[in-house]
């Protein structure tokens, strides 16, 4: 519609100019037509001034930050799962070397330095008191999980 209106206005201006007799009237008509066309052409530029350019920048910056946080969060979750899985497998392997058949579930959390580390473990399996002592020391020494964060489940009972 805009294209039609603009073209019609321009053609109309051209036709009016064509029909006018030469002389001062024609020059006046040409001036008026030129001004009308100019105003019509510049109108969209005036509308751009009303846009909130500053808001646009902060909005896009927030959106970018949100995307990055989401990606970082997803990566951290994935990493936490991998670390828990690997650390659990490590405990089970070491326990097997000690003659213990067990399952281990490791829980990770993020430290103040931003590192995701194993923080707690639940070990389920039958073992003697000495074996448990050895395993507790191994987990503390090699995985950095303190003894108080280690829980053991034997025959359905937690200790």
């Amino acid at each position: 519609m805009w294209l039609l209106a603009m073209t019609a206005a321009a053609l109309l201006a051209g036709a009016v100019e064509q029909l006018c007799p030469d002389g001062p009237v024609k020059r006046a008509v040409r001036l008026v037509c030129g001004l009308v066309l100019l105003v019509t052409m510049l109108r969209p530029a005036a509308q751009l001034r009303d846009l909130a350019w500053g808001d646009l920048f902060s909005m896009e910056r927030e959106a970018a930050q949100e995307s990055v946080e989401q990606g970082t969060q997803m990566g951290a979750e994935q990493m936490s799962a991998i670390i828990a899985e690997e650390a659990g497998a490590y405990i089970v392997d070491k326990a097997a070397e000690m003659g213990i058949q067990c399952a281990a579930q490791v829980f990770c959390s993020e430290t103040e330095e931003g590192l995701i580390l194993p923080q707690a473990v639940e070990v389920a399996g039958e073992m003697t008191a000495q074996q448990r002592q050895d395993l507790t020391e191994l987990i503390s020494g090699e995985l950095g999980i303190p003894a108080e964060e280690q829980s053991y489940r034997q025959g359905g009972e937690e200790s």
């Binding site: 294209l3 052409m41 990055v68 690997e86 020494g141």
Partner: protein, 356 residues
């Protein structure tokens, strides 16, 4: 956050793959691609060659229809200028006053024929820009998330900010200023051809220059901003990586090894997925451009050729009008191309971000 940028140097491959972790976001990108992603199956190993072959097939399928459409317009335009030429010839040299009327009728006829093409092609260009913008809202956050997960959070943020910002600015400028300027340009050319007014012809030339200058300026500033912000963000990411390495060196060795494995798996997996999604995005953007580029490009060439052919038999103002309307198609092509260029550069930039 800090750990995500550890460039671990050992062992790949653990159970939990990045495809699962980011499946929702990636699925959104594939959904947003709509029909343009139908021929592209990322699960079956997407490559640039297969993607381009699919695009070539798309071009081949659409070519015949577009050529027929363009030829129809050219024949109508040539018929008008030939008819005007014949009538003008029959009036001259005695009917000098009637030449103006013949020319006016010719201009109205050419404008009427071109208007249907112009309206249709501007609509097509605008639709493509809208489709690209909508697709970018799904693609860019996903690529940014994957880039962040692959170890370049600052680079990801800078890239998405620059692309979304400039994309918004460009679309706003196109909608609010450049398209009306194209309309005004066509109107000025028509009026100048009808009246022979030199001022109108110059205004038309100025409008065309303004459109080209605005598009070039936006793209230049975008590339400049992306390059500078990328360098700054790259330095920031490098510092974060060093800090993470330092923090990692203080961890118990066994845990350090596990952390390295996990970081390597996550970074590598997200990086591979980022490349796949980035390539998919580029191919979809190119796929979106096929129809408008064919339509606008062929119309542009055809109008230019018709103008040149008609110049041998018809009035120079009429042939000049055909030529100028062809240039308007070139301007719309430039706008669509600018939007596509912005997206493609952004994807190339995101995909090429590597943790050092």
């Amino acid at each position: 956050m800090l750990l995500m940028v550890i460039p671990a140097l050992v062992l790949p491959g653990l159970a939990s793959g990045p495809e699962e972790a980011y499946s929702d976001q990636v699925e959104q990108v594939y959904q947003a691609a709509g029909e343009y992603g139908d021929d592209l199956d990322p699960s079956e190993g997407l490559s640039l060659e297969t993607g381009l072959a699919s695009l070539a097939e798309r071009v081949r399928n659409q070519m015949k229809e577009v050529v027929a459409d363009v030829a129809g317009s050219c024949v109508r335009l040539l018929a008008v200028v030939l008819l005007c030429g014949l009538v003008a010839e029959s009036f001259s040299p005695a009917g000098g006053d009637r030449m103006g009327v013949v020319r006016l009728v010719g201009v109205i006829s050419i404008t009427a024929i071109a208007l249907s093409d112009t309206g249709e092609l501007i609509g097509l260009g605008r639709q493509t820009i809208g489709e690209m913008e909508a697709f970018s809202h799904a693609l860019l956050p996903t690529v940014a998330a994957l880039t962040a997960a692959s170890g370049s959070p600052a680079g990801a943020a800078a890239n998405q900010l620059a692309t979304m910002l400039f994309s918004s600015v460009l679309v706003t400028l196109i909608d609010g200023l450049l398209l009306p300027m194209v309309y005004a340009y066509v109107a000025c050319c028509a009026a100048a051809a009808a009246t022979g007014n030199e001022g109108l012809r110059r205004v038309g030339g100025l409008l065309k220059w303004c459109i080209t200058a605005v598009l070039s300026a936006v793209l230049l500033v975008f590339v400049g901003y992306l390059t500078i912000s990328g360098v700054i963000a790259g330095s920031s990411d490098a510092v974060t990586v060093k800090t993470a390495k330092l923090a990692l060196s203080g961890v118990v060795p066994v845990v350090g090894g596990i952390l390295s494995d996990a970081a390597e798996t996550v970074l590598a997996g997200a990086g591979v997925l980022k490349s796949t999604v980035g390539l998919f995005g580029m191919l979809v953007v190119l796929g979106m451009c096929v129809a408008p580029f064919l339509q606008l490009g062929l119309h542009y060439i055809a109008y230019k050729c018709t103008g040149a052919l008609a110049a041998t038999v018809a009035d120079s103002r009429l042939t000049g009008l055909i030529d100028n309307i062809g240039a308007a198609f070139g301007l719309i092509l430039g706008m669509t191309g600018a939007c596509a260029f912005l997206m493609l550069i952004s994807m190339v930039s995101a995909v090429s971000l590597v943790v050092r």
